[in-house]
Every structure is written in C-alpha cells, then in structure tokens.
Symmetry: C2
Subunit: 361 residues, 2 copies
C-alpha cells in the first residue's frame, strides 16, 4: 500500500509543520489552493477542467480564518485516524465524527455538513490526495458485468458469473486489482433499466465488452472505476444516455470533469470517453420523432448553457447536434427504442453504432 | 417454470374470454378488482394492508371504459409476448412498446406513462400475478452480502465472496434459487453508507447474518428478496433506519405493505419484520441529544399521520416512541453514532441490540 503510506506521510507533514509554527512562536498557517471560478480553467491540451495554481494562506490567529483552519485540521486528524486503522467513513459520518462543542464555550467545530465537506475538499488540495485516498467515501451506486476478474478485499470476483444482478460497485475503488480483463470496451449508461435490458440480452457476451451503470449523474466510484480501466487497460469508454441536454451533461462531466471537482479532474475525468447515443441523428435514422417529449424551459436553458461550454463551442459536430436538438424541440429517451422491438437496442442499435464507429468525440 | 406457465395460461384465458364475447356478439368485458381507498383495509389477522373483494366490470363498448379497456388488453399482449420470449421490460419501456397511434385516427393507445402503469396494476389484479411475474420490472437498486449461495441465470453466486461491493440486487428476484443459506437473520438498512460501514466492519461475519440495503424506500426487488428469505428460510428481518418519521414509514411499508400496492401485499409485505433502530430510547441511552436535527413542519405532520395508522394507534410501545419523538422535537440519524467511534454502530450498538432483543414489533 505505497499510496496509503504516501497519504499518511502527507497528513503527518501537515501536523509537523503546524507544530513547528507553534514551537517557533509563529502564527500557524496552511497553504490552500483557491477553489473559485477565478482559479478554474479548461485546458485544451489535457482536455480537462483544471484548477490553477493560485493558493491562499489560512492563518490560525485570524478571526476570519480560524474556523476553517480548525475544521481542516480536524478533518486531517480524522483522515489520519482512518488510514491508521484502515477504515473508511462517509461524508456524513465525518461530519458527526468531528462535531463537538469546544470545552467552556458554546462553539461547535461544525454546525452544518457543508462545512466539513468544504474542509475535506481543502484537504484533498493540500495533500494532493483524493477523498477516497483519505478514506472518506462518497455514495455507493451502480452495477457492472463483463469478462473481468478482480481481486478486492481478498476475494476474487468474476464479473461474468454474477447472475442477473452483477457486481455492486462500491463507493471506493482505489484498492481493487484487475486480475484478468478480457473485454474490448466499456459501455457506461445512466439508467439501471437500460443496463438490465443489455444484461438480459447478453450484450457484454456478444460484443465482448463490459456494461456499467449508476443512476443519473455517475458516482465518483463509477467514474474512478471507468477511468482506471480506461488508463490501466486501454479500454475505450462509450457513454449511452438519453437524447437530451442532461444526457450530454452526464457525458461532459465524465469526459472533461466539472467545475466543482476541478481539483480532482486528473483522478476522475476521462478525456478519451466517447458519446454513443442517443444522438439527434438517431431520432431521424430510427424514426423516433413520435416519441419526442417537448423541452421544458429548463431543458432549453440547459441546452444553451451546454452549447457554450468551451470544449463544445468550437466543436462543429457537437454544434450540429445542438442545432438539430433545437429544431427537434424535445428530448428522446433510450427507452423509446423499445417501440422497435423488445431487444432492438441490444440486437441492432448498439452493434450497428459500434461497428460503424458512429460516436461523437 | 410452473409459475410462468400459470401466468401465461391466465393471460391466454383473458384473450379467449374476450374472443368468446366477440364471437357471441356480446359487449366484451373485463372484471377488474377496485383499487380505491374504499376497497383497501388493514387486516389485523394477517397484519397486512389488503385489497377487498369489490370488482368492477369494464366494457369495450362504453366511451368511459374503452380507453382503459384497450390499454389493459395491450399490456396483457405485451406481457404474453415477454413471457413467450422469456425477456423483461421496465415500466418505461412497456409504455413505449404499446405507444402507437390507432390507424386512421389521431388517438394514441397511451399518452402518459401513468396510463400504462395503471393498466399494468390492473393486469396484476386480473391475473393475480405480480408485475415481476408478468416480466415487467421495477427499479434496480441495492446491495447484499452474507453467507448465502444463490443460483441465478445459471451462475452460482456466493454472497460472502464479493469484495467490498457485494451483489447488486436485480429488479426481479422471482427466479433466484437459494442453494445454501448459512445465516441467522437479516439486517436491512435504508442507506448504502451504513451498509458499507457494516460491511467494512465484517458485521455479517461476526454476527453470522446477511446485510442488505437499497436507498431510501426499499425497491420492490429488495422487498421481495427479503420476504422470500423470511418465508423460505425463516430468517428474522431487522430494519435499521434513521430515527425519524420517514424511517418509521420505511419500516411500516416493509412490514405491513402500502395502500397503493395493497393488491400485492401478500407478495411484498413482511408482517414478521422488526424495528432495530434508531429508537427514541437510543437517543437517551447513547447520549445523542446534541445530534438532534429539529423537525420541520413536514416532519411533524408525518409523525402525526404515522402515529394514527391503524397498526400503530393501539400499539402502546409505538405510541410511547411517538410521544418521545414529540418531546425530542427532532430526528437523529444513524450516522450520528460515528461520534462515539468509527465502528461504534458495528461493534457495540447492533450487537447489544440483537443480544438484548431490543427491537420494536
């Protein structure tokens, strides 16, 4: 566990640094990279939304800083404790773990979970370790099947022999070892219902791929699992979402990262991910016009917002898509493909798209 | 697959009956049990919310009936098709599958998914088969681990050898075979974060039990899986939820069923389920008062509503709980137990409660 040792060492360094400050009679300080829009930018070279290198000093003896200062140190101590005993806590549990009243006062270390969450994000920046490496877990969600054998917590798990359910993806996938990967690509989809469709139709066996889902926006565990398999096993990632601005947004976050998690893009984003569908062209090609669900105002606003994203605004192919969606005036769900046949999506739609390389980049 | 054959036979009977009506020049009719509050009651003997035996006749030649009549027949035809090819669809996919315009008119079979959903519920009543037996699936969600081996789709799956993720529970668990069950009880919890806590602490190994979760309200797949193991393997079910009216509601639905699904209580509800926590007594006993989150008006209203449920209103122990919650004036989350120690819930809270049989019935 070299990674764990490194993270522990970083946490220890923070403590040693602060102790030195105190010993030298100096005002204890932490250098915290700034997580504001002013310090976030899209980097066309790496194709990632990245945090800039601006940092701010946080002082203990400063009424405006002390609360955040103490919260960050408390969270660091909790992370150190978790790494020492090799256990994990959720964000909510960390909030409760550090939530106490300072003796002789009526001041609580934290009043809202938002405060401990922010402190954890700051700690990610200070240590350059992800929340997961600090043993603080996000939501657990999602399923996966395919010809892959992993080793996790001492168990060998064969993702191709798990019945109709598949493997439940944990919130933290840092320590998983890939023992055998016998697949050519991964299809990630936003909906569990689509996943069950593809699994029942044995798409992963027929196309020799992996199928994975969470629900709506992909969880951090799912994003990291996709990224690790993409990097470590060179597996192409194809994203299958509904034909609407929200589906494109899910794809965009998977591929380029997000502003709120810009500091962790390198550990979560997958610049090589591709959009498999549902595209505006599919609506014509597969005769789905009668299944268009009219855009609400909020959908239209989202579409305009996304079309102006830096990574989309000079992309001709995507601008063509956005124009077509504007003309169609509504969204089309993947489930609408059921109107063509129970297994149309598995037997025709996906195999054709993969064979003809019909994806957007 | 005797059950499948029976369901197919029932669907066929509907078609034969309607064909006979038509052949005899009669107005085709369907007898549909009434799913209104007037026909729903709590049965203290079975401890289930059950549908009464009132039925209504639905006529084809009746402008008020014809739309629902046709929708029900369309859904029956789709279920028959699914059973014939041994495939499943989600509710959303069924909506799209039957959604077409009647030739020569501008009338659609269905305009909203609500219509096909209602038709499916009616079909459950007419055939006395659950939606799952009709091969129409609900949401997929949830994870499980424990010393259990199942057979599903030809795979032998050992729930004790699945690393940190566990088995992903499918939406439909009708065809799962329990090959080996070596556990004394099941703990069901509403939150995946708690499940990961208990799994990391190996609670299922130490207490020789099964741990299962979905997210919030239990999915039908989870409820049915719990019920099957409770009935087929006599496993006690302990429900672990946050200390608030919503937690009690989750417990209530698991145990007694719900009004909207009263017609299917016998296939989903678990009258023997017990409430493990978090109870109002726990707040005192484990010194959790500082973690009380004040009730909003909506929480208070929910508490009053639940305290008047027929199955709670004459239950002294539950009324005592409701009184204590009223006095506490707020909710307490299970995650608050983290303040006592990272694994306090696993090492102390749960083992003590089980050992001392501290559960509510």
């Amino acid at each position: 566990m070299v990674k764990t040792d490194q993270t522990k060492a970083k946490l220890k360094q923070i403590g040693i640094k602060l102790a030195k400050d105190i010993g030298a009679g100096k005002n204890p300080t932490l250098d915290v990279p700034i997580r504001a829009l002013s310090n976030v930018a899209y980097d066309p070279k790496t194709k990632l939304i990245m945090l800039g290198d601006k940092t701010a000093k946080r002082f203990f003896f400063n009424v405006a800083h002390v609360r955040k200062f103490v919260q960050t140190v408390e969270v660091a101590a909790t992370a150190k404790e978790l790494l020492d005993v090799d256990k994990h806590l959720s964000l909510r549990e960390v909030f409760y773990r550090i939530n106490r009243t300072l003796p002789g006062t009526n001041i609580n270390i934290v009043d809202e979970q938002e405060e401990s969450n922010k402190a954890i994000e700051d700690l990610e920046l200070i240590t350059n370790a992800s929340r997961e490496q600090l043993h603080i877990n996000a939501n657990k969600m999602g399923s996966v099947v395919g010809k892959v054998v992993i080793k996790d917590k001492g168990d060998l798990v064969d993702w191709s022999k798990l019945g109709s359910g598949g493997w439940a993806i944990p919130s933290n996938v840092e320590d998983i070892e890939f023992v055998k990967v016998n697949a050519k690509f991964i299809i990630y989809m936003e909906k569990a219902a689509e996943w069950e469709r593809l699994h029942e139709d044995k798409v992963w066996e027929k196309l020799n791929c992996i199928i994975m889902c969470s629900q709506g926006q992909a969880t951090r565990g799912v994003r990291r699992l996709l990224q690790r398999m993409h990097i470590e096993h060179k597996l192409p990632i194809y994203v299958l979402v509904d034909g609407d601005p929200w589906g494109v947004y899910i794809y965009s976050v998977l591929k380029y990262g997000s502003i709120s998690l810009a500091h962790i893009s390198e550990r979560l984003a997958i610049p090589g991910a591709r959009f498999l569908g549902l595209s505006a062209d599919d609506v014509e090609k597969y005769d789905l016009k009668r299944h268009i669900i009219k855009f609400e105002d909020v959908d239209k606003a989202r579409l305009e917002q996304i079309s102006k994203y830096e990574w989309f605004k000079n992309n001709k192919e995507w601008q063509r898509q956005f124009d077509m969606w504007r003309k169609l005036g509504g969204k089309v769900e993947l489930a609408a493909l059921s109107s063509k046949g129970i297994s149309f999506i598995s037997d025709k739609y996906i195999p054709d798209k993969i064979r003809n390389k019909e994806f957007l980049d």
